[in-house]
Amino acid sequence: MAGEVLVVAEQVNSQVANVTLELLGEGKKLARKLGSPLSCFVIGHNMEAAVDAVIKAGAEKVYLADHAELAEYKTLHYRRVILDELSSWATPPHTLLMGSTTTGRDLAPRIAAFFETGLTADTIELDIGPYEHTSGIDQTKIGYFPECLYASRPSFGESLKARILGPWKDPQMATIRPGVFAKPEMLTEKPEGVEIKKVAINFQPSDYRITIKETLREIEGKIDITAADVIVAGGYGLGSADGVNLLKDLAACFENSVVGASRKIVDLGWMTYPYQVGQTGKTVRPKIYIACGISGALQHRVGMQKSELIIAINRDPDAPIFSFADQGIVGDVYHVIPEMIKQLQEKNTSKLAELKVK
């Protein structure tokens, strides 16, 4: 029988991250296909509520490492509890999933390197399916594998999606961006009989080589672009960093709105990483996405194509963004955005008038 489908949970202040719940939802589908249990590795301190949450999200078995030293994520401490536990298993997990967050991207490669196993980054689709390996210098790899983890991701700069798999060694690992999968429906009652295994914690002196001096999360919320209803995002077509002010002005016309950025302008330093939308930034699904001077490369598209309404402004009528936007304006952002702001403010006045009548 195939091993478990294991989701390594992420937490901040003992609260389970959304990406973990999303992975449990998707992981359940994989587990059913394999006929394996869906398990969740919860690491942190004072994690009772977190354990409840992952069970309500579908975890059928929980591995719990609860220790004061684990309250904040630390590479070497978290690595230690996961490796110690997994190394003691007779059958490794079939699949191991983590969020493709700053934490997951720090930890997952260390786990993969330790077990000498494959790891697919920034996956956008997961499935279980067969694979037949027919040739190659390494004869030991040849064979038919009925149950591989399929992890698909866009191939850079190419309008291609690639399916990556590696059935030769378990755990088959993948990281997945927050927001790629929908959150599962949470059970209202905790089901009976879910095993919670407290894992052994044996930190080594070498685990203390990294220490946290200070954690600053006061900007949290303000720049969580995934929670916004309206995102006004800018790309290289803005022409310069000054264009960002224009985005802000337009965003200010909307409730619960925020500005976003394409990777290119983050690389150029016009905006910072937390605002980046796309394959290597955030995956967002707002009600309204206004793309200003964004060409719409696949990298960007995978991060925002689930937005309810996409309005694109671009000078180039052949820009790829127009192939998947809902409303397209061919024009200069410096003409179109100020006009939008003007008309929205007029709308605003009329909306006020409406309210006054009521």
């Binding site: 590479t75 070497l76 700053t102 991207r105 720090d106 490669p109 260390r110 993969a112 390197a113 330790f114 196993t117 494959g118 980054a121 920034d122 190659g136 390494d138 191939s155 850079f156 700069g157 190419e158 291609l160 999606k161 990556i164 798999l165 590696g166 060694k169 080589r209 990294i210 220490t211 001096k213 954690t215 600053l216 999360r217 006061e218 720049i223 209803d229 909307f254 409730e255 690389d267 330093g269 290597t280 309204i288 990298q299 309404l309 309005i311 009528p317 790829p320 192939s323 998947f324 936007a325 809902d326 397209g328 304006i329 061919v330 024009g331 003007k342 008309q343 709308k347 605003n348 909306k351």
Partner: protein, 286 residues
């Protein structure tokens, strides 16, 4: 005064997608025709290496290391122009189709070869956050695991005192200040200081190296293969990669129902869109 530091920067040559060259009409890339450049993220790592060298003692050294086909030597020359003391490329046909695990293994062998040759293990290894062609951000931490180094990813700024790296790093929803014992592997975020312009002296130096004899050149740009760094070929390239790409497919045009507005004054275009996009109204701030 800090001790002398041996600093390594891992860099990669990637296709230059800023130019149109090598981009097929259907959006796929012809890697043979496409221009090449230093991975933009690695430029930040190189600057970090240069800054770290200044923080170390007077005999600190900066090495740039890459893996790839021979043309990737260009980026090593670039590193020399900016102030690297010596560079090395691992180039071998048997490395083709390496995934991140196999890449990390091969680079580890290269690093260990260099540690031996230079008489000292690295104090610091800098990597870019990720590459623009693979986008995985995995190779750095995979190397760190193999070498049993401490690790700081998403580093935005740092200083060094005694045997400690003090770093500011990006975490989910904020930043964190951490101290990591050396030796450490650090991946540099693109919010770090931009790579400064190469110096005239650096450019002149590289010109001299390029004109020098092969033996002289090898002092600054060493070319090694798997045998030289004693790497097991079964752990490299396609053989050593636990993952393969089993299938690729074109992502079709999604929707394709975009309503286009063009050829009119901006005011008209905008009012057309606002008329069509009724739901906008709900979100307009009062």
């Amino acid at each position: 005064m800090n001790k002398d530091l041996d600093i390594y920067v891992l860099i990669k040559q990637v296709p230059d997608t800023r130019s149109k060259a090598g981009v097929n009409p259907d959006g796929t890339i012809d890697r043979a025709k496409a221009g090449k450049m230093l991975n933009p993220f690695d430029a930040f790592a190189l600057q970090a290496g240069l800054n770290a060298k200044k923080m170390g003692g007077p005999n600190s050294r900066l090495f740039a290391v890459t893996m790839g086909p021979p043309p990737a030597i260009d980026i090593l020359y670039q590193a020399l122009e900016h102030g690297a003391d010596a560079t090395c490329i691992l180039s071998d046909r048997r490395l083709a189709a390496s995934d991140t695990l196999a890449t990390a293994y091969a680079l580890c062998r290269t690093l260990e070869y260099l540690f031996k040759k230079n008489g000292k293990k690295a104090d610091l290894i800098f990597c870019g956050l990720q590459t623009t062609d693979g986008d995985t951000a995995q190779v750095g931490p995979e190397i760190s695991e193999r070498l049993d180094f401490t690790q700081v990813t998403y580093c935005e700024d740092f200083s060094i005192s005694d045997n400690l790296l003090h770093a500011k790093k990006i975490i989910e929803g904020g930043t964190q200040l951490v101290s990591a014992e050396l030796p450490a592997l650090v991946t540099i975020a693109n919010s770090y200081t931009k790579l400064k312009f190469k110096s005239l002296r650096g450019a002149q130096f590289v010109q001299d190296v390029k004109r020098a004899s092969k033996e002289e050149q090898a002092k600054y740009v060493e070319i090694i293969d798997l045998d030289k760094c004693e790497a097991d070929e079964m752990r490299c390239g396609l053989n050593g990669s636990p993952t393969i790409v089993s299938k690729t497919w074109k992502i079709g045009v999604v929707g394709g129902n975009c309503k286009m507005h063009q050829g009119k004054a901006a005011s008209e275009l905008v009012s057309e869109v606002f008329k069509d996009a009724i739901m906008l109204k709900e979100f307009v701030k009062i």
